[in-house]
């Protein structure tokens, strides 16, 4: 049914038959949860008393003296990144569905940490797949996940990064679909995951919109966010979509620009814009930032790109590193390398009043960042 292609020609459910009934069950459970005020109330309480919402909006006056640039501080959320918004929401959903075993993939480790955290909080079994290359470059997060009681399974083949970790998590889900919940970390994957993740991350843009109106008395000229799979970006953008004068700018890693240089293709259960060759084989992405090092992107971003409502640009490793150091030195904030891509393009964006989603903090990246 093309009805499951939620976002124009993008989206869908390109997965083996074994998973389709589980996706139907997930979709039913999600609709019921959304219609149930108790679900929203439980989640809002957790977001406020456990996660630390609302997160502040911080003016970065020394970072961007020629602009009025504000940072939406998802780095201050418990576990240090926006990923917790999604992990909390999905684990509450998983509990409603009666699942005891939670599966996740992780790239930078932030989603893995968020998932391990909520599993510890609710006493659920947690298995996280992670590429061995990412385990090397994001070692502190591996240690955090293990401290939190998660089993971290190294993925030793292919790119040894997020792409293969996601494939292995899905294969585990296929084998254990009766008792396991796949807690996907970004707005990718088969329907209804992209919609679920967007709805759980929307809180970023909803708060930022209110906060910028309170601070400046008007809407921003632009909202800027980094895009790997695209969950912090879709969350930051979504409530601004009806505000047609607000530019929505997604920043991809130059070596992993699924929207900038990709083509329509199918990866991890969805049709979207992917880095693939002429034959449809997925090609390797490259980024210094493990969280952006992914050859696919959420189908809703492909749709927003095609419709012209959002624009997607790129930042190189060097651009991101420069912005990383600049934010450290000028604001006393250590950003994640992922978020540093958004900071880099926000600096030279032709706009005055800008909100940047600072999606995570950079402690995890210190080993990868050359000292200056």
């Amino acid at each position: 049914m093309t009805a499951t292609r939620t976002f124009g020609t993008y989206g869908g459910r390109y997965v083996p038959e074994t998973l389709i009934p589980a996706l139907d069950e997930l979709e039913r459970g999600w609709r019921e949860a959304q219609a149930d005020p108790a679900f929203r109330a439980e989640l809002d309480d957790l977001l406020a008393t456990y996660a630390g919402r609302p997160t502040p909006l911080t003016r970065a006056g020394r970072f961007a003296p020629a602009k009025r640039l504000y940072l939406k501080r998802e780095d201050l959320l418990h576990t240090g990144a926006h990923k917790l918004n999604n992990a909390l929401g999905q684990v509450v959903l998983a509990r409603r569905l009666g699942k005891q075993r939670i599966l996740a993939e992780t790239g930078a480790g932030q989603h893995g940490v968020a998932t391990a955290t909520v599993c510890a909080r609710f006493g659920l079994q947690c298995v996280v797949y992670m590429g061995s290359e990412d385990m090397r470059r994001q070692k502190p997060n591996v240690e955090r996940m293990r401290l939190l009681g998660a089993e971290v399974v190294p993925v030793e083949f292919g790119t040894r990064t997020l792409k293969e970790a996601t494939s292995e998590a899905i294969r585990d889900w296929i084998a254990n679909v009766e008792d396991s919940y796949y807690l996907i970390g970004s707005c990718v994957g088969p329907s209804p995951y992209p919609e679920i993740v967007r709805e759980l991350q929307r809180v970023i843009g909803r708060e930022a919109r209110e906060q910028i109106l309170a601070a400046e008395g008007r809407l921003p000229d632009a909202v800027v966010a980094c895009v790997g799979g695209g969950s912090n970006a879709i969350g930051a953008f979504y409530d601004f979509i009806p505000d047609e004068d607000v530019r929505l700018v997604g920043v991809e890693a130059a070596g992993a620009a699924s929207l900038g240089t990709g083509r329509p293709g199918v990866l991890h259960g969805a049709r979207s814009s992917v880095l693939a060759d002429d034959d449809g084989q997925i090609v390797d992405a490259h980024s210094i930032s493990a969280g952006l090092d992914y050859p696919g992107v959420g189908p809703e971003h492909a749709w927003l790109r095609d419709s012209g409502r959002a624009h997607y640009v790129t930042a190189t490793d060097a651009d991101a590193l420069a912005a990383f150091h600049r934010l450290c030195a000028t604001e006393g904030i250590v950003p994640a390398l992922e978020s540093s891509h958004a900071l880099a393009r926000a600096l030279d964006l032709d706009a005055e009043l800008i909100v940047v989603c600072l999606s995570g903090r950079g402690d995890k990246d210190l080993a990868e960042v050359p000292a200056r």
């Binding site: 049914m1 093309t2 499951t4 869908g12 459910r13 390109y14 997965v15 083996p16 038959e17 074994t18 998973l19 389709i20 009934p21 589980a22 139907d24 083949f157 292919g158 792409k163 494939s167 899905i170 294969r171 296929i174 084998a175 254990n176 679909v177 009766e178 083509r263 329509p264 293709g265 199918v266 990866l267 991890h268 259960g269 049709r271 992917v274 693939a276 002429d278 034959d279 449809g280 084989q281 997925i282 090609v283």
Partner: protein, 235 residues
């Protein structure tokens, strides 16, 4: 197609330089059909053996065009159904209709797209898959849409050899049988003559994949011996 017994044996082989010769050996040893793997970089339904075979095939340059040439080569050698098996991304890039036409011209009998649900691309004729998790409603839809026979996935899991025939096959076969008369071929996890014999008591045929791919690495002689042992178990 089998001279006796009537239970069908489908052997899966991954595209590769030696595949035409292997396919011929398999058919001569008693395979009733060949499932022909066209490799994809991210095969979600496959366990390690077929995933690695796909990686090798890609490294050997087995692009879809070359795979179809090879299919034509196999078609020149054998007279049994040849069923390409691949993933949606490959067809999306090649063009759904164009692939169906080119595969058919190369001698393909049908097609399997393992990550394409029955309700997507409804006009593309293909063998549909059902799994132990499929609802009766989905079983019925797959049976109605399928091209010739229904691929009954024995396990909730990926492809790959297992110690025992999955206990999920019997209840699934029984459920499907009540809903349709189309032939049922069981696959995933069938790797020994004993599995094949046990499965054949429940369904009309079996598909042997990972173990065939593994054995094929030892050459056509080894594959023929393995296929012969499966044939003997089915007859």
């Amino acid at each position: 197609m089998s001279p006796n017994g009537g239970k069908k044996l489908v052997v899966y082989l991954m595209a590769g330089p030696g595949t035409p010769e292997l396919a011929q050996a398999a058919v001569e040893a008693g395979a009733d059909a060949i499932e022909f793997g066209i490799p994809f970089s991210d095969p979600l339904a496959d366990g390690p053996v077929i995933r690695r075979a796909g990686e090798r095939a890609l490294a050997q340059g087995m692009r879809p065009g070359r795979c179809l040439e090879q299919l034509a080569d196999i078609r020149a050698r054998v007279d049994v159904p040849l069923i390409p098996m691949t993933y949606a991304s490959i067809l999306e890039a090649y063009g759904w209709d164009r692939f169906a036409a080119d595969a058919s011209a190369a001698g393909a009998t049908s097609l399997i797209v393992v990550d394409l649900p029955a309700d997507d691309q409804p006009d593309l004729r293909r063998v549909q898959l059902v799994a132990p998790t499929s609802t009766d409603e989905r079983l019925r839809a797959a049976a109605e849409a399928t091209d010739g026979w229904l691929y009954v996935v024995t396990v909730t899991g990926t492809t790959g050899a297992r110690a025992e025939l999955a206990p999920t096959l019997a209840p699934l076969a029984e459920r499907v049988r009540r809903l349709t008369d189309v032939p049922l071929y069981a696959g995933f996890g069938i790797s020994t003559p004993g599995h094949a014999r046990a499965a054949a008591e429940l369904v009309d045929g079996v598909v042997v994949g990972s173990k065939a791919v593994e054995t094929a690495e030892e050459g056509p002689g080894a594959l023929a011996a393995f296929v012969g042992s499966l044939r003997a178990a089915l007859d």
